[in-house]
């Protein structure tokens, strides 16, 4: 039996990106919510709730980039120059918010205020830039001989701006539901309010992005069974599971918020993200650079993929195990004494 290595790797990269979006999503979301906190003490608790795990979360982004480089070098070589500006914007924003975790503790009056603002601004900018990357990706990249052949601002369209807004608000929802789960007292109450507002906004933006994607990209619409004013129920039917998953997610979220559940809203938000992720993937799979390069065309040599798969089989279970363990160590509500300083 021979393994379909490119397919396995497509699945692995997709999983890494999904894990990144969910994990760094909630900690970027906490940063986006920073300006809405009522007191410096609340902000300290918000940061303490993510401080032990943010670095591990961001490592999935490195795996996404490094994995794409290693497994699908032609996709990496085509996409990263095409999205040069939003990617570099994201990297710089991640620097600002990443150092803020420690710098905020070390700054005095003005320093602390600056790094508080840098954490909030960096988180929002990183989320928005990732949305621009996503939007630019979905609307497609112009290629010639497997290399990027477009302009520096091809990614900048009303559509990508809409997607970026959607992603930033989505992260805020993940962040708010995380805080509901992990904080107590007043902050917990504020987080519920933030989550309610974000949930409504996300539902609206998710619908808007879905419609915009179908309208702007005929090829995607075709995938979903919409073509020439008619629609193909046989195509659409099985795919309806995806919007149904989103509806279930929103229902869990609403139910969790109404019943004052602690972990329920986070689970609901994760389901909504999963639905959005799958929904977009249906639009471009098996392309890895929409809409001219399939994951097979982009794949690295089989011997490299095989070697790396060996590494993954050995290491990924351990990574997942100790990641879960770290989250377990830091489980429960975050108190005022969570810092190490």
């Amino acid at each position: 039996m021979t393994l379909d290595l490119p397919l396995i790797w497509a699945g692995l990269i997709a999983t890494a990106v999904l894990l990144y979006v969910l994990l760094d999503g909630f900690d970027l979301g906490v940063g986006i919510l920073f300006p809405f906190a009522r007191s410096p003490a609340d902000r300290d608790v918000m940061m303490d709730s993510i401080a032990p795990v943010w670095d591990g979360n961001e490592t999935w982004l490195v795996l996404g980039g490094g994995g794409l480089f290693a497994a699908f070098p032609f996709a990496y070589a085509a996409l990263t120059p095409a999205l040069y500006i939003p990617i570099l914007l994201m990297l710089m924003a991640l620097i600002l918010r990443g150092v803020a975790f420690e710098f905020r503790l070390r700054g005095r009056r003005r320093g602390k205020a600056f790094w508080t603002a840098a954490f909030a601004g960096g988180s929002l900018t990183a989320a928005f830039a990732q949305g621009l990357v996503l939007g630019g990706f979905i609307q497609g990249v112009r290629l010639q001989d497997r290399a990027f052949a477009g302009g520096a601002f091809d990614w900048l369209t009303p559509y990508s701006l809409l997607v970026a807004t959607g992603l930033a608000v989505g992260y805020a929802l993940l962040g708010a539901t995380w805080l509901i789960w992990r904080t107590a007292d007043e902050l917990h109450g504020h987080a519920r309010r933030w989550a309610r507002i974000a949930a409504v906004a996300v539902a609206g933006l998710l619908a808007a992005v879905s419609v915009a994607t179908l309208l702007v990209h005929p090829r995607v619409a075709q995938r979903w069974g919409f073509a020439d004013g008619a629609f193909d129920l046989a195509r659409l039917g099985p795919l309806l599971v995806i919007p149904a998953l989103g509806a279930v997610g929103l229902a869990v979220l609403a139910w969790g918020l109404a019943r004052r559940s602690h972990a329920g809203p986070f689970v609901g938000a994760v389901l909504v993200f999963l639905s959005g992720y799958l929904g977009l993937a249906v639009g471009f799979f098996p392309n890895i650079v929409p809409y001219d390069m399939s994951f097979r065309q982009a794949a690295s040599a089989d011997n490299a993929l095989a070697l790396m798969l060996g590494g993954v089989v050995l290491l990924l279970p351990a990574i997942l195990a100790y990641t879960v363990w770290v989250y377990w160590v830091f489980r429960g509500k975050v108190g005022a004494d969570a810092g190490y300083h």
């Binding site: 003490a41 980039g65 480089f69 990496y76 011997n303 005022a336």
Partner: protein, 466 residues
């Protein structure tokens, strides 16, 4: 080929990686230091070790954070700016990068959280295990990235297919390319030496003010111990590495030594002003025959000069020549400092009693960073005009991006790094000035500063300015 985008991309990569390398070269050493400190604390229950651990962990957290975020940049810059390189090199060295992420980055990032925030959440043994795993992670990371770099310096274990793409045929030879063992040893020793010098400088600074501070005295002795063993070892390993360069990259060696003519009994230039236009040194201060002796181990050996290579195949000379001299000069100074410190430890009441030595140790604090960056310049600039030596020229590796966005991103990086890394440096210096005892004390809840610290009298500012 757009030359401007190429030049800007080179500048940007050099700038971002030069700033990045500062942090790993410090945190690799510190991570091992923590494993040792915590192990000693568990074994002896001497609180001095724990105080030192809790003090340096804050500096580690600042440095590691800066290292992580400046490192994430690298994993995307390979594509945004060097997409042709990426597409070409990935089938061979892609797995090396992937293994670095899988085997090292996750380990470091996950257990760093436990190290920093887990003191009250896990038992002392488990916490020690976390420290050891982080130290192991930093070394694993060095292993894979130096493996990839060594392959780019001297590629082996691959073939070039008819369409020009590369394929690995022997993974062992790819991972353990011929120059890899010396390079890895050189980098890890450099990291240990850099850390030892910073720890020595910080402790010496404290001892100049409070000669009786036991923690600083202990840390200084440990740093001297590291320095006196590692600095001479580094000279040895560096020499081995140089011999490898002579064997596999003769053009780089000629640039390092500013040899223009191919001849026997090459002189050693202590200082020179190499000029590529005239293909000679404008002036030089030399010792006859020593050049051949140092580089080849035989004063009569024939060593190739730069003129043996076509002008378009020669690396820049002056920068490589001088970077090498600064690195070696600092290395010799480190050996001297280590021996001096060891002699003081052995002879008298200890190094803390010699203000002259303490001042010298403070002055040598940044020497490790300077030497690392100079070494990196020798290795990477000396490899030019190739990015994969003999296989792919740097000029052919650049992404199809315009000069405009690259110049904007380069300027943005410079502004951002100027703010982030100078503020980070300031915070680290502030912590060092506070010292281990005040710095390691656990403050009462809600209190940001330890009582008794230099700043305890300053207002606490419970409200941050909005």
């Amino acid at each position: 080929m757009d030359f401007d985008a190429l030049l800007l991309s080179r500048l940007q990569f050099a700038f971002t990686i030069a700033f990045h390398i500062i942090f790993p070269s410090f945190t690799i050493g510190l991570a091992s230091y923590f494993a040792v400190l915590e192990g000693l604390w568990l074994a002896t229950r001497n609180e001095t070790f724990k105080t030192l651990y809790l003090f340096w962990i804050k500096i580690f957290a600042l440095s590691f954070g800066m290292g992580v975020v400046s490192g994430v940049v690298m994993s995307y810059e390979l594509g945004t700016n060097w997409s042709v390189f990426s597409a070409k090199a990935s089938p061979v060295i892609g797995p090396l990068f992937a293994f670095e992420v899988l085997a090292a980055f996750f380990l470091e990032a996950s257990f760093l959280g436990v190290m920093l925030f887990g003191w009250k959440k896990v038992g002392p043994r488990l916490h020690f295990a976390a420290s050891v795993l982080v130290a192991f992670g930093t070394l694993t990371s060095a292993f894979w990235i130096i493996s990839a770099n060594s392959w780019m310096q001297h590629p082996s274990g691959f073939v070039t297919l008819a369409d020009g793409s590369l394929r690995a045929v022997d993974w062992f030879k790819v991972i353990f390319s011929p120059t890899f063992p010396e390079r890895l040893a050189h980098m890890v020793l450099a990291a240990y030496l850099t850390t030892a010098l910073v720890v020595a400088a910080a402790s010496a600074w404290r001892l100049l003010k409070r000669p009786e501070e036991a923690e600083s005295c202990m840390a200084l002795r440990m740093a001297i111990g590291m320095c006196v063993i590692v600095a001479p070892l580094q000279l040895l390993v560096g020499d081995l590495s140089g011999k490898e360069v002579l064997r596999v990259q003769p053009a780089k060696l000629a640039a390092i030594e500013a040899f223009w003519e191919t001849r026997r009994e090459q002189p050693f230039h202590i200082a020179a002003w190499p000029d590529r236009k005239t293909e000679a040194n404008r002036w030089e201060i030399s010792i006859p025959r020593l050049g051949s002796l140092i580089t080849a181990g035989d004063a009569r050996a024939e060593i190739k000069g730069l003129k043996a290579f076509a002008p378009q195949d020669r690396p820049p000379v002056a920068v490589v020549f001088w970077a090498f001299r600064v690195m070696v000069g600092l290395g010799v100074a480190m050996i001297g400092l280590g021996l001096w410190g060891a002699w003081l430890c052995w002879r008298r009441a200890g190094p803390a009693t010699s203000p002259l030595f303490l001042r010298a140790a403070v002055a040598m604090g940044p020497a490790g960073f300077v030497a690392v960056i100079c070494g990196w310049i020798v290795a990477e600039v000396g490899r030019q005009p190739y990015v994969i030596y003999g296989v792919l020229r740097t000029a052919d590796a650049v992404s199809p991006v315009a000069a405009g966005p690259v110049s904007v991103s380069l300027l943005a990086f410079m502004a951002l790094y100027a703010v982030v890394f100078s503020v980070g440096g300031l915070y680290i210096l502030r912590l060092i000035a506070e010292g281990p005892v005040a710095g390691a004390a656990e403050p009462a809840p809600g209190l940001q500063r330890a009582p008794g610290s230099a700043l305890a009298a300053a207002p606490q500012e419970p409200e941050e300015g909005r």
